[in-house]
């Protein structure tokens, strides 16, 4: 094979005509293997459109949610800046001058969402406070040297906008030698130089100070080594009068961590103020509100799918970003697997598209379970018309889609009302969050539940579960298992199943077995695995090999074999060796020196 060698592990393949650089349009992969009459192209375009809209909606949402936090942060920064500006002889100010203004930003454990927050924070600061905003991550700063290098290169990168070539050379030179002294002299240089140039640039409000402060954001404060942090804080507090620094700590856990990382002598050099970001659960609620509990987007999730996504959120990571990823995958899967998703768009457009549906697509409509249920309820002439005549089918589909639309707009309205009514009741019988209520309503008739109050029966007809609506399949994505499989996989369970129950994958009758049993014709690795489960911490290879041979020989006796017994034994031994090395690769066993010709088990229990 071209990709195996004993001397190297990386193989680069460049197609000959690299100059032409043709790349296949993404849409082609969407349509591969699909029936042409099922509007693949249109479906992919619709997917992309809806996804773009959803994405920009979430980004906008995030910005709005952060608005309060950012404005209080900016206020704090401006206040501390003015402290730098005043050259007061006031004793209090003198003391303060030795303290680095620090904002501790409590962001919560959903670290994956922090990036976005910091990105927009940087932007906001650059627009409102100072052009010099630098973000550092712990992984880039193993020691103080790298810390200062990164700081310097980013800082100098901040001021080179147009004459970047010159700047880059400068940066490259500076990189080798960096100290706080060089930083402050650079700062003096730059602030004096830019003064006359100021009108040229669009630096609007930042020009209100002669010397804008330098804001340093430490994204993941907890991950920094204490030594690096302490050194940096001590050094920079010495230079504060010539290098006006403001720190922002990104904190995922709790503010106590500051005092755990920094001894009193160091933390007393900081003037800390706490800022709390919005809780991620509230964030989720708003995202759901804007993306799913609305008729703005035609795409909907079924109860199971929504449950899985919220469960991943609540039990695994609290990450909005992951939630959005799940939403994206649902959207993609829906458009990929449901031919009629072509009608999952805004109502006027969907009505237009109905007119162009192919025969094949009309058949697809007729095959929808919800549509079949609907047809059965109609008078017999109408049934015939719907099942045989494409034109009357299309007309009916238009009106049904319209109904579905009306259903949704009523649904969400009433849902919100009901939530308003019940969310303040003691013990929250229908849940505290609107998503809980939504899930219940998606699942079944809400009025059938015990918690439901009879006085609210008026709402009944509006909160019918979506499955009762004809054509709901067009806009609802319900393949919950695919979602779970691809987002929240359990590789260890898969291994376990493959080793314990090969019949699950290999549908051969010979492999059929009851739970906890394995037939002796099973793949070698399954047999070796089963045998090793019977051992405790150490396994004697000879015993194991003999046991393996016993089983395998018994299995082979069934087929007449022409090879000699000695050769057969050798082959069986080779098969055993292969199975053992494979189990080692998979991490079930490892070699041990505790006893000769033994291996150690690495798992505990049934697997």
């Amino acid at each position: 094979m071209a990709t195996s060698s004993v001397s190297k592990g990386c193989f680069v393949f460049k197609p000959n005509f690299k100059k032409r650089k043709i790349s296949v349009p993404v849409g082609d992969y969407f349509n591969k293997g699909k029936n042409e009459s099922e509007d693949g192209k249109l479906r992919f375009e619709t997917y992309q459109l809806i996804w773009q809209q959803m994405k920009s909606e979430t980004e906008q949402l995030q910005e709005e949610l952060n608005k309060n936090l950012f404005s209080s942060l900016i206020e704090f920064l401006q206040k501390s800046c003015s402290g730098f500006q005043k050259n007061s002889r006031d004793w209090g100010c003198q003391i303060k001058l030795r303290e680095i203004p620090t904002a501790a930003l409590i962001l919560g454990v959903n670290v994956t969402d922090h990036d976005l927050t910091f990105r927009s924070l940087t932007e906001a600061l650059q627009n409102n406070v100072t052009p010099y905003v630098v973000t550092l991550q712990a992984k880039d700063c193993p020691d103080i040297k790298h810390f200062l290098q990164k700081l310097a290169s980013q800082l100098m990168g901040c001021c080179v906008d147009e004459d970047s070539k010159e700047g880059n050379i400068q940066v490259a030179q500076k990189k080798t030698h960096c100290s706080m002294d060089s930083l402050s002299s650079w700062y003096m240089n730059v602030t004096q130089k830019t003064d006359p140039k100021m009108p040229r640039k669009k630096r609007t409000s930042s020009s209100q100070w002669q010397s804008p402060p330098v804001v340093l954001i430490l994204k993941d404060m907890e991950s920094f080594t204490t030594k690096v942090l302490q050194d940096f804080i001590i050094i920079s507090s010495q230079h504060l009068h010539e290098f006006p620094l403001i720190l922002i700590f990104g904190i995922a856990t709790s503010p106590i961590i500051i005092h755990r990382l920094l001894p009193h002598a160091v933390s007393s050099l900081l003037c800390i103020e706490l800022f709390q970001s919005l809780s991620c659960k509230e964030h989720l609620t708003t995202v759901l509100d804007k993306l799913l509990l609305t008729t703005q987007f035609p795409f909907k999730l079924s109860e199971k799918v929504l449950q899985i996504l919220t469960n991943i959120f609540l039990y695994h990571d609290f990450s909005i970003q992951n939630f959005i990823k799940g939403l994206q995958l649902s959207l993609l899967e829906h458009f990929y697997s449901q031919p009629l998703s072509v009608l999952c768009c805004n109502l006027p457009e969907a009505k237009r598209r109905i007119n162009f549906l192919s025969d094949n697509q009309c058949e697809n409509i007729r095959r929808l379970p919800s549509f079949r249920r609907y047809v059965e309820k109609q008078a017999s002439e109408k049934q015939v018309a719907l099942l045989t005549d494409d034109r009357s089918l299309k007309e009916e589909t238009q009106s049904l889609l319209e109904n579905l639309h009306v259903y949704h707009s009523n649904y969400f309205l009433v849902l919100r009302c009901l939530h308003q009514f019940t969310s303040s009741l003691p013990k929250y019988p229908l849940g505290r969050q609107i998503r809980e209520l939504y899930c219940t309503c998606l699942e079944k008739n809400i009025w059938d539940s015990e918690e439901y109050v009879s006085a609210l029966q008026l709402l009944r007809e509006y909160l019918l579960p979506p499955e009762t609506q004809p054509l709901h399949e067009v806009v609802y994505f319900s393949a919950a298992h695919t979602l779970r499989e691809h987002l929240n996989a359990a590789p260890r369970i898969a291994l376990h199943t493959a080793l314990n129950n090969p019949y699950y994958y290999l549908k051969n009758e010979a492999l059929k077995s009851e739970e906890g049993c394995i037939p002796n014709v099973a793949p070698d690795i399954c047999i070796a695995y089963k045998l090793h489960l019977e051992c405790s911490r150490l396994i004697n290879l000879v015993d194991w090999s003999e046991a393996f041979a016993t089983v395998v020989t018994a299995a082979e006796k069934m087929d007449a074999s022409s090879v000699t017994s000695e050769e057969r034994n050798e082959i069986i031994h080779a098969r055993f060796i292969r199975a053992v090395s494979e189990l080692e690769l998979l991490g079930f066993i490892k070699p041990t020196k505790q006893k000769t010709d033994h291996v150690a088990r690495l798992t505990w229990g049934g697997c």
């Binding site: 990709t3 060698s5 004993v6 592990g9 193989f11 680069v12 393949f13 460049k14 197609p15 043709i22 993404v26 969407f30 591969k32 039990y315 992951n322 993609l332 298992h481 499989e485 929240n488 590789p491 260890r492 369970i493 898969a494 376990h496 199943t497 493959a498 080793l499 129950n501 994958y505 290999l506 051969n508 010979a510 492999l511 049993c517 394995i518 037939p519 051992c535 405790s536 150490l538 004697n540 290879l541 015993d543 194991w544 090999s545 003999e546 046991a547 016993t550 018994a554 082959i571 080779a574 292969r578 053992v580 090395s581 690769l585 998979l586 505790q594 000769t596 010709d597 049934g606 697997c607």
Partner: protein, 530 residues
Amino acid sequence: MMSKLELKEDKIMEVQFVGDDDVLNHILDREGESLKNGSAADGGNKVYSFQNRKHSEKMAKLASELANTPRKNVSFGLKNDPEIMINIPQCSKEHSASDKVQLKKSDKSELLSAAPSGLRKRLIGPRSQSDSESEYSASNSEDDDGVAQECEEDTDEVTMSQKSPSQNKAMSAPVCKETPSKKMKRDKTSDLVEEYFEAHSSSKVLTSDRTLQKLKRAKLDQQTLRNLLGKVSPSFSAELKQLNQQYEQLFHKWMLQLRLGFNIVLYGLGSKRDLLERFRTSVLQDSIHVVINGFFPGISVKSILNSVTEEVLDHMGTFRSALDQLDWIVNKFKEDSSLELFLLIHNLDSQMLRGDKSQQIIGQLSSLRNIYLIASIDHLNAPLMWDHAKQSLYNWLWYETTTYSPYTEETSYENSLLVKQSGSLPLSSLIHVLRSLTPNARGIFRLLIKYQLDNQDNPSYIGFSFQDFYQQCREAFLVNSDLTLRAQLTEFRDHKLLRTKKGTDGVEYLLIPVDSGTLREFLEKEEEES
């Protein structure tokens, strides 16, 4: 609380904010469900349950059971053994309340039967038996026997004293006013904990003393192994083919998802190398792509980055560190959005790549919009490599591709227990390196080889002392000062052809870390040529 439980009996699946235990159960349950098949549904419980103290004879017993009833299903010990029954966590949520009460009863009786005296017997029993068989002994190659003995006795006592209060608790259960389910859970956990410590307390494990040597089964080398395995006719080929075809239908979907910003990770039993190779040949032919064999022992993140910078981006400069190199690549790909690169990594979880830094760098590469990553993992703990931050960099979509294919290539580099180092690889590299040296240097090395071969049967031989070696080299007119000899030795050391060791007398000893068979072969080859 009870009434609520009863009410919701049939739909306990709903989200409730509860204690850690329940969350754990919940997660396990979830994962069990992820396989559509009913039989795998309780996989979670099994996978994470505790292991029992087991006896070494069991394997043989099981094997004979399996062998004697060919093509018939033999139920494994798990079901018949009353001791083990205690261990299977019976936390399945489907049990109704009445079931639970029953369970509790049986559970209690089992607890009583597992009283300390019985436990002691169990510990001692097999040993007295094994005396007659004379083949069983505890693992004690390294630690002092007497001390270990004492240790064991101590721990026995500890388990005893731990055991008794818990037993009391179990007896007094009816008086206790806790709800049954809670009560049961507590007993269960304490029981599990004891089982765990019981199995781990003693440093000795009873296994038979037989060694492969006694069996007269020599270690096979890689080539023989391959030849032998080649004679095995593969079973279930029709089913395997069907499995593979199922996965091949996903190729276009994978391409779509890769291009839309996801990365793909394949998991499941069996080598996924052939599958990925077919993916490569069928859909990646027209794109720039890099295949990375994670199982290759010499692989490193640096070599991955190098092949990207040097071969993909045609950059000839060097970089001060991997992070600099990464920055450079990231900038390159951000600047030129028409640039596209597919990375195929076999065994992203291999020994060489599983480190935190490597994963961070590969994750950062994969998070680029125009770098697409498709990788396979095999190790059962592979997902532990990734924290939330890394997972979000990778943006994985998981695909289960169980193939049952043998890991031929993946294990061929491995220093397996049963596979002899073939020696062909060191030999060829030995020849290769020595050809590039000066005649004098070759002479020096040959001298060392000969001396080492002369002493190969001497068990106390620790190497050629530097002074003696220098003397001999001088006599053979190979060097004129110890400085030149030292310079020469440094070069050997760089090629890993030499190891030096300080003896107890402070003298430096030189040793070639290659087995004598290879060395002899090398000398023969050399003589043939000259």
